[in-house]
C-alpha cells in the first residue's frame, strides 16, 4: 500500500489558508497549513488561544470553506461543495467531540446518539444496537436514560465521544475535549479518545492548549499564529 492510497481514506489539508475580513481588518486564521492524518492515527494539535486551532477544526470538519488550499475528507474533496453537501458530509463522515460535551438538554444519553442517524432519515434497529454498544464502550450503559443535567462533566464528555462515533466517522475531530474536566477525568477522556481512534480507524485530530495530555497522541504538532510546526 502506498502512502497516497492510504491517505485517501483519512484527512488531508494541503496549503490551507483561512482569512477573515478584508483590508485593514484582515485576519489570517490559518496560514498555508498542510496536515495529513492517516486512518487510526491520533494527532494532537497544541497551541495557545487564538493560534488558529478552532479554525483548523472548522476547516477540517467541513464547517467552513478555506480561503485557499485543498481539504480532503475521506475520499471527498471539500472545495466547491455546496452548504447542503457539506452538511451531508458532516452527517455521514465526520465525528465531532465538542468542549464540555455540548449535548442537547432535553435528550437522554441514548437519544443524543440516536439523533445522529435520525438527522439522515430513520433510526433503524441496527442504529439502536450501535448506540448501546457505544454507550457500553464509554462505560455509560447504566446511565443511558439520563439527561445531561443528571450526568457529571466527565460523563457528558463520554456521551459526546460516543455520539461522535455514531456515524462511523472517517475523521474524528475533538475541540478542547477536556476543557471542563479535572486532571484525572481529562486523562481518562483522552485515553478513551485515543483508544477509540485506533480501534475504529478514524483519522483523529484533537486540539488542546494542555501540554499534559499529549502522551496518548501518536503525533503532536504545534500551532502558532495560524502556522503549524
Amino acid at each position: 500500500m502506498t502512502a497516497a492510497t492510504a491517505t485517501a481514506t483519512g484527512l488531508a489539508l494541503e496549503q490551507v489558508t483561512l482569512e477573515y475580513g478584508t483590508g485593514e481588518t484582515l485576519v489570517t486564521a490559518l496560514d498555508e497549513v498542510t496536515l495529513t492524518v492517516e486512518p487510526g492515527e491520533f494527532v494532537a494539535v497544541v497551541g495557545p488561544s487564538g493560534s488558529g486551532k478552532s479554525s483548523l477544526l472548522a476547516v477540517a470538519g467541513a464547517l467552513i470553506h478555506p480561503t485557499r488550499g485543498r481539504v480532503r475528507i475521506a475520499d471527498v474533496t471539500v472545495s466547491g461543495a455546496k452548504a447542503a453537501e457539506l452538511a451531508k458530509l458532516r452527517r455521514t463522515r465526520i465525528g465531532y467531540v465538542f468542549q464540555s460535551g455540548n449535548l442537547l438538554a432535553s435528550l437522554t444519553a441514548r437519544d443524543q446518539l440516536l439523533l445522529v442517524p435520525h438527522l439522515s432519515g430513520r433510526i433503524t434497529a441496527e442504529d439502536r444496537a450501535r448506540a448501546d454498544e457505544l454507550l457500553e464502550a464509554v462505560g455509560l450503559t447504566a446511565k443511558a436514560d439520563r439527561r445531561p443535567h443528571e450526568l457529571s462533566g466527565g460523563e457528558r464528555q463520554r456521551v459526546g465521544l460516543a455520539r461522535a462515533l455514531m456515524n462511523r466517522p472517517a475523521v474524528l475531530l475533538a475541540d478542547e475535549p477536556t476543557a471542563a474536566l479535572d486532571r484525572r477525568r481529562a486523562r481518562e477522556i483522552v485515553a478513551l479518545l485515543a483508544a477509540q481512534a485506533h480501534e475504529r480507524k478514524a483519522a483523529t485530530v484533537m486540539v488542546t492548549h494542555d501540554t499534559d495530555l499529549l502522551e496518548a497522541a501518536d503525533r503532536v504538532v504545534h500551532m502558532r499564529d495560524g502556522k503549524l510546526s
Partner: protein
C-alpha cells in the same frame, strides 16, 4: 419530531404556560363566535325566516327602513304584475310594548303584519292560522318560554289593541325581541298608535311590499332590497356586527403575537442547540420541519382543549341564562379555531426563520 417532542416534554412548564394562553384565547374566541351568531339570530332571525326574497320599501328614506318606511298596501297589486314576481303582499313591521292581561306580565314584541292567507303568513306550529279569529296573533317560541300560551291576551300599550294568542311559531326574533305575527289590519291599528278606531288613512300603511321573485325593471318606484341586504336596516345590526368583528380581529392578532413572541424567545434560547445540530449535519429543513411540527402540536392541542371548554361554557350559559343571545354554531366556531391555528403558525414562522440563519460554527468552542 425527534427533538420537538423531547423538548415539549423537557420544557413542559414553558409550553404549558403558552398553551394555556392560546387555550384561553380559544375559549374566548368560541364564546365570541357563539355570541356573534346568537346576536345575529336575536336580531334578524325574524327577517331570515321571511318567505320573501325581496322587500320593496318607500323610496328616498335614509336608513332604518323597517321603522321609517311607509308604503301603500295597494302597491302590492302593481308589484304582482311585474314580470318575474311570483307574488307580492304588504308587510308591516313595528316594535311595541304589551302587557299580558291574565298575569300582568310586560313583554316587548316585534309585530309583523301580514295578510292572512298570503305567502307571508306563517304556518302555526300549534294552534290556529292567522285570520281564524279577529286580531288573533301567533307568538314566537321565545314568548312561550317566558310563560305565554294559547288563550292568553296581549294588550298593546297606547293603542290598547287586544291580541288574543291563537297559535305559536318557531323561535324568531327581530331587534332582540320576540316576533308576534298579526293580521295586517290589526298591525295597522297598532302602528297608528292611538286608542279608538283609527282614521281611514291608517289602513293605507305598510312597512314594505314583500316580493317573491327577483324584480327586474318596471315596478313601482321603490327602494328594493334582497332579504339578506335588509338585515342592515334592522336597528343596531351593522354596529353590532362591526363591534363583534373588531373584537374577534383583535383576538386573532393578539394570539398571533403571543405565539410569535413565544417562539422568538424559544428559538433564541435554543440558538446554541440549533448550531450544534447544524454542526452535526442537520439541515435547516430538518430543524424547520421539526419546529413547525412542534408549533402545530402545541397550537392544535391548546385550541382543541380551548374549544371543548368554550363549548361546555356555551352549553352551561344556555341552560343557566336562557335569555342570553349565545348560540352553538359549529361552522363559524370551526372556522374560528382553524384561523387561530393558521395565524399561530404564521406568527411562529416569523420566529422560526431565525433557525436558518444560525451559524453551525457557533458549536465550536473558539467562537463561543
Amino acid at each position: 419530531m425527534f427533538l420537538a417532542l423531547r423538548d415539549l416534554r423537557f420544557a413542559r412548564g414553558r409550553f404549558a404556560l403558552m398553551g394555556t394562553v392560546v387555550g384561553l384565547i380559544a375559549v374566548l374566541a368560541v364564546l365570541l363566535t357563539g355570541l356573534a351568531t346568537g346576536l345575529v339570530n336575536d336580531n334578524v332571525s325574524g327577517l331570515r325566516s321571511l318567505p320573501a326574497t325581496h322587500l320593496a320599501f318607500q323610496p328616498g328614506v335614509d336608513g332604518n327602513l323597517f321603522s321609517r318606511s311607509t308604503v301603500d298596501p295597494a302597491l302590492a297589486q302593481e308589484w304582482a304584475k311585474v314580470p318575474d314576481i311570483r307574488a307580492a303582499t304588504p308587510y308591516g313591521n313595528t316594535l311595541a310594548h304589551a302587557k299580558e292581561e291574565r298575569s300582568g306580565k310586560d313583554v316587548d314584541v316585534a309585530v309583523f303584519g301580514v295578510e292572512p292567507g298570503s305567502f307571508m303568513a306563517p304556518e302555526p306550529l300549534t294552534g290556529d292560522p292567522l285570520g281564524s279569529r279577529e286580531d288573533g296573533v301567533l307568538i314566537s317560541r321565545k314568548l312561550v318560554d317566558e310563560g305565554l300560551k294559547i288563550g292568553d291576551t296581549l294588550v298593546v300599550e297606547r293603542s290598547e289593541v287586544r291580541l288574543p294568542v291563537i297559535g305559536t311559531i318557531g323561535d324568531v326574533s327581530y331587534g332582540h325581541v320576540a316576533v308576534v305575527y298579526a293580521p295586517l289590519k290589526t298591525w295597522q291599528r297598532i302602528h297608528y298608535g292611538l286608542p279608538g278606531e283609527p282614521p281611514e288613512e291608517a289602513f293605507k300603511a305598510a312597512t314594505a311590499i314583500a316580493l317573491d321573485g327577483e324584480p327586474g325593471a318596471g315596478g313601482p318606484e321603490a327602494e328594493v332590497l334582497s332579504r339578506e341586504d335588509s338585515y342592515g336596516q334592522s336597528p343596531g345590526y351593522s354596529a353590532e356586527q362591526a363591534t363583534m368583528q373588531m373584537i374577534q380581529f383583535f383576538l386573532y392578532v393578539i394570539s398571533m403575537f403571543v405565539v410569535g413572541a413565544f417562539f422568538v424567545v424559544w428559538t433564541i434560547q435554543r440558538r446554541d442547540e440549533i448550531a450544534l445540530v447544524r454542526a452535526l449535519g442537520g439541515s435547516a429543513g430538518y430543524l424547520l420541519r421539526d419546529a413547525i411540527a412542534q408549533v402545530l402540536v402545541v397550537l392544535v392541542s391548546a385550541t382543541a382543549v380551548g374549544t371543548a371548554v368554550g363549548a361546555g361554557m356555551i352549553a352551561l350559559l344556555r341552560r343557566a341564562a336562557p335569555g342570553m343571545p349565545i348560540a352553538w354554531a359549529p361552522g363559524p366556531i370551526i372556522t374560528a379555531m382553524a384561523l387561530l391555528v393558521v395565524l399561530g403558525v404564521l406568527g411562529a414562522l416569523a420566529a422560526l426563520r431565525r433557525i436558518t440563519s444560525v451559524d453551525p460554527l457557533l458549536a465550536l468552542g473558539g467562537n463561543r
